[in-house]
């Protein structure tokens, strides 16, 4: 039999529909792949037994004619989504063996659509990081290598690595400043962050509430559309959820982009841009042109303020969101001589360096006397960035940029330099600040043979155009490279 793990999600769903194989067979193949790929450290918790049970139940449902959108597909869930009865860590020590009694809306939607869950995927602690090295459960290794272990990007490093290594057909991820798109770029996978409010945040451990948005990492643009259609949808339990129907995004894939106006923002040509990245971008522009799109130079003048503003807003919200991890009701608790001591010991032991750093930054920028200079100013920048995009939409329908300023780098290389690490988000944070949809599509290899992605940004609520442009880019780029299987 063919290797079922090499299939796309779309192909696997078709195969099961045709009766070529069962979910049980498909799931078993992926469980085996996950076991083989343990070295990648993509999972924090595996749920193989549960997955096999779910697969059997799915096959039974299919036999009775009940077929959901993700029926029988073995997938991974980023360990930021709370899963009922399955330990949820957010990549942190502080949650201890916290096992939710509830299911996040996103994973509940997918369960309702017939998903098989292989396990909970590794991530940077509380989704704070760009290399998956801040996880309490150790770094995730990128299946792509360059003579040494590379990071898969972050924070959704486990999701990206698992999909790239064919351990699962697709995975959920979350994106606060680029955490879906940058790892997708680093691993040759597709990752989309939809419009803020498309996916409910209910039951997803919060990092920065006004920026956090769930989305999928998948093997193809079409697969990402299938997954997002399942994940998205209005949820009255999240006040920031958008009350709108989920459109036919799968149908948008493969549609012609003839006449589509693609904006190229000049501010994204940053100083010291690696030649590989510039060449990829230029190539992308040519491909879109060849596919019939009209290329429009645009300006997003406040781009350079986006990253600093992001690193004020996100830590500010995080410092408050993470206050609940105090050792009182669940998770880790280190008893001290009094209440304050217990708080301090618990949070010192429970949080890693990066999380502590951001809590301190966030606390600082919200403090009396600093609020106006930092938080308020950052919010003003945010308004300007929203306005930049509004202006841009007058002359274009989608925007094409690189996803990240480099290919995957070696494990350990940037971990001691937070600012270098933060620069990974330079092309992605703007869409989080503006709440816009953005997708990363693998578009080529650098000179070392490592994958690179291009980003397409669309108007709020216009994921359809984003999918259309992404699938055109995917077709034109013809990216078929896979990492050599060096593990097991």
């Amino acid at each position: 039999m063919t290797d079922l793990t090499k299939m796309t999600l779309s192909g696997a769903l078709d195969g099961m529909a045709k009766g070529d194989f069962s979910s049980e067979e498909l799931t078993k193949a992926h469980v085996d792949a996950c076991m083989d790929g343990a070295e990648l450290n993509a999972f924090i918790t595996t749920t193989f037994e549960l997955a096999m049970d779910q697969a059997k139940a799915s096959d039974a449902r299919r036999a009775s004619g009940e077929v959901g959108k993700l029926e029988g597909a073995p997938l991974g869930i980023k360990d930021l989504f709370c899963t009922e009865g399955v330990k949820t860590t957010a990549g942190s020590k502080i949650l201890g063996d916290f096992t939710p009694t509830y299911e996040s809306t996103v994973s509940a939607n997918m369960k309702a659509d017939g998903m098989v869950m292989l396990g909970k995927l590794n991530l940077d602690e509380f989704a704070m990081g760009s290399s998956n090295e801040t996880s309490h459960f150790g770094p995730v290794i990128n299946p792509w290598r360059n003579g040494e272990d590379l990071v898969p990007g972050g924070s959704s490093g486990g999701s990206a690595s698992a999909v790239a290594a064919d351990l699962c057909l697709g995975a959920t991820a979350t994106d606060t400043g680029g955490s879906i798109r940058q790892p997708a770029s680093f691993t040759g996978t597709v990752g989309i962050k939809p419009t803020y409010g498309r996916c409910s945040r209910w039951g997803t451990v919060a990092f920065a509430s006004s920026l956090d948005q769930a989305g999928p990492i998948a093997k193809t643009v079409r697969d990402s559309a299938i997954l997002l259609e399942s994940m998205a949808g209005y949820d009255p339990k999240d006040s920031t959820s958008i009350n709108a129907d989920v459109p036919d995004w799968v149908g948008a894939c493969g549609q012609s982009i003839k006449g589509m106006r693609i904006g190229i923002p000049k501010e994204y040509s940053i100083d010291g841009m690696p030649a590989d990245i510039q060449a990829l971008w230029d190539n992308g522009i040519e491909m879109m042109k060849a596919a019939g799109a009209e290329i429009v130079p645009i300006s997003l003048p406040h781009t350079k303020y986006a990253l600093p503003a992001y690193y004020v807003v996100a830590p500010a919200e995080a410092s408050s969101n993470l206050a609940r991890y105090d050792g009182m009701r669940y998770g880790l608790r280190v008893d001290g001589k009094d209440l304050t001591d217990t708080y301090e010991l618990t949070r010192t032991d429970g949080f890693g360096d990066e999380v502590r750093r951001r809590i301190m930054i966030g606390t600082y920028v919200l403090s009396a006397g600093y609020y106006d200079a930092y938080y308020l100013r950052a919010q003003k920048v945010r308004t300007r960035i929203v306005q930049d995009f509004e202006n841009a939409w007058e002359s274009c329908d989608a925007i094409l940029t690189p996803t990240a300023p480099s290919a995957a780098f070696a494990v350990g290389r940037k971990v001691s330099d937070p600012v270098q690490m933060y620069l990974n988000d330079i092309f992605t944070v703007t869409t989080n600040l503006a709440g816009l949809p953005g997708v990363s599509v693998p578009a080529g290899l650098d000179q070392n043979g490592l994958p690179l992605g291009l980003q397409i940004i669309g108007r709020a609520m216009d994921e359809a155009t984003v999918f259309k442009a992404a699938s055109a880019l995917e077709d034109a780029a013809g990216f078929t490279a896979k990492p050599e299987k060096w593990w097991v």
Binding site: C82, W202, S320
Partner: protein, 497 residues
């Protein structure tokens, strides 16, 4: 900065060897919103349930849980805003107030800092002194009303070295009503709280139960030379009765004056009121004040009210205490004092209107305020728990008005009714208290009393004051049941007065 132009009435000045002082008072009242469920979760708000039985995942601050605002609480706040004659803000926003404590699971309280739902307003109060004298009306400015979540309850006395936490109250909606520093005496402060209580109860937006802590006040007190520069204020937290408010202010003002007169300075601090000792003590100094790091809650959208929504609430407002008071004075001809007491609280006003229906309004008010409220007060009961219903009290008054019993006998009957012995008619019947109105019988009693006291009867012509003695004797002989007017009339005839 606070501006406090009004100077206290001289009677409210505190005079010492060094001269006169006046007290400047502002209040922050926390009123629990009357609602079935909490401000941001679906949990119930019932008081007195077993600990931690009314706690949702949101209330407990579980990972990934999100608040969703309870629209009914918004409506209640707007309603209260109208009751305070205040500006309703069509745009308001929830902010996070960040601090760590065991009874605050999220690590922040969701409140409204920069943009409260209700802005400035004003209410009129009528302070009453200890002797029941109604003072001049005082206008008290309202600074703002905002919505916020209550915290849980820390229980420190169940174990010598552990604190227990009950999260039932955690997340319950509160309205914080902030006054301007417009009060100048303890009586004005308690009159203000009483007025607020009357307003929220009339509106049904808070039950006003101070004993349960559903209405409690933080009292800001400072002193100054009359009309002089404002002094440094201290905030006394969570004072939960009218009497304690007055006590706390009196104590605190004295404390300030003593310090200032000894050449000291007032430290701006937060203090606690010890109701047992009747004194305040330091809770935390200004140096220990929290930096709450307020910022807009990113989990919640700003509240944008439609004008039509606000208009609808306004159109549906019930009769407010001030309006009802005016009506009681004009329709029932009640004096201001009676009208004020009766309309300060909706339950009292409703009760009175049942009692007075079809009856003399002044007699009804005397019996309601004098006998019933007095008896309730003595028994430590609320009107809601009165053993005598409004209809029953009306029944008693009917028997006075139709001369079945005298006012004096009625008081005995009332006592028995209050003790639960039955209705007025049942007790009158059982005890044979029906007034003797048979003129023949009264005449016989009068004849007997005159015969028994012939000396006084002869003297009475010279000294008409003796009539009182004879009336007393006849009433005694009738065991109080003789109709006093009839006794009087017959005695005057027989004694030739």
């Amino acid at each position: 900065m606070f501006i406090a132009p009004r100077i206290a009435d001289k009677k409210d000045w505190i005079t010492t060897d060094t001269g006169d002082w006046e007290i400047i008072i502002g209040l922050e009242v926390h009123a629990q919103v009357a609602s079935e469920s909490k401000l941001f979760s679906g949990s119930a708000t019932d008081y007195g349930s077993a600990p931690n039985t009314q706690v949702s995942l949101v209330d407990a601050g579980m990972p990934g849980m999100l608040p969703v605002v309870n629209e009914f609480c918004i409506e209640q706040a707007v309603k209260t805003g109208f009751g305070l004659n205040a500006k309703i803000n069509l745009f308001s926003r929830f902010d996070r107030k960040n601090y760590f404590y065991v009874d605050l699971p999220q690590g922040y309280q969701i409140s409204q800092f920069e943009h409260p739902i209700v802005g400035e307003g004003e209410i009129e109060i009528l302070p009453i002194d200890g002797d029941g004298n109604v003072g001049e009306p005082v206008n008290v400015g309202i600074e703002r009303l905002h919505l916020e979540q209550d915290a849980g309850k820390s229980v420190h006395d169940l174990s010598p070295d552990e604190t227990y936490v009950d999260l039932n109250r955690c997340g319950v909606a509160l309205m914080e009503i902030v006054s301007k520093p417009d009060m100048r005496s303890p009586e004005e402060a308690s009159a203000y709280v009483e007025k607020l209580r009357g307003i929220v109860r009339a509106l049904g937006t808070c039950d006003g139960d101070m004993e349960k802590g559903n209405l409690r006040a933080d009292v800001n007190v400072s002193v100054r030379r009359p009309g002089g520069e404002l002094g440094t204020r201290c905030e006394i937290k969570n004072v939960n009765s009218m009497r304690f408010i007055r006590q706390a202010i009196n104590f605190e003002a004295r404390r300030h004056i003593d310090i200032l007169e000894a050449g000291g300075e007032i430290d701006q601090e937060t203090r606690l009121f010890d109701s047992v000792k009747g004194e305040t003590r330091t809770m935390r100094s200004k140096e220990d004040a929290h930096d709450y790091r307020y910022f807009p809650d990113p989990d919640l959208l700003p509240i944008k009210l439609e004008q039509s929504f606000v208009d609808r609430i306004k159109a549906e407002l019930p009769e407010m205490p001030d309006v009802r008071k005016a009506r009681f004075m004009s329709d029932y001809g009640l004096p201001e004092y009676d009208a004020r007491i009766l309309t300060a609280d909706k339950t009292k006003a409703d009760f009175y209107e049942i009692v007075t229906k079809g009856r003399d309004s002044k007699i009804a008010s005397n019996w309601t305020m004098g006998e019933l409220f007095g008896a309730l007060n003595k028994a430590g009961l609320e009107l809601e728990d009165s053993p005598v219903s409004a209809d029953a009290l009306g029944g008693l008054i009917d028997r006075i008005l139709d001369d079945t019993i005298s006012g004096k006998i009625a008081k005995d009957v009332f006592e028995k009714m209050f003790a639960g012995e039955g209705t007025a008619d049942e007790i009158i019947e059982r005890d044979g208290l029906k007034q003797v109105t048979d003129m023949g019988a009264i005449e016989a009693m009068v004849d007997k009393v005159i015969a028994d006291n012939s000396g006084q009867a002869a003297a009475a012509k010279e000294n008409p004051k003796l009539l009182g003695f004879f009336v007393g004797q006849v009433m005694k002989a009738s065991q109080g049941k003789a109709n006093p007017q009839a006794v009087n009339k017959i005695l005057r005839e027989k004694l030739g007065l």
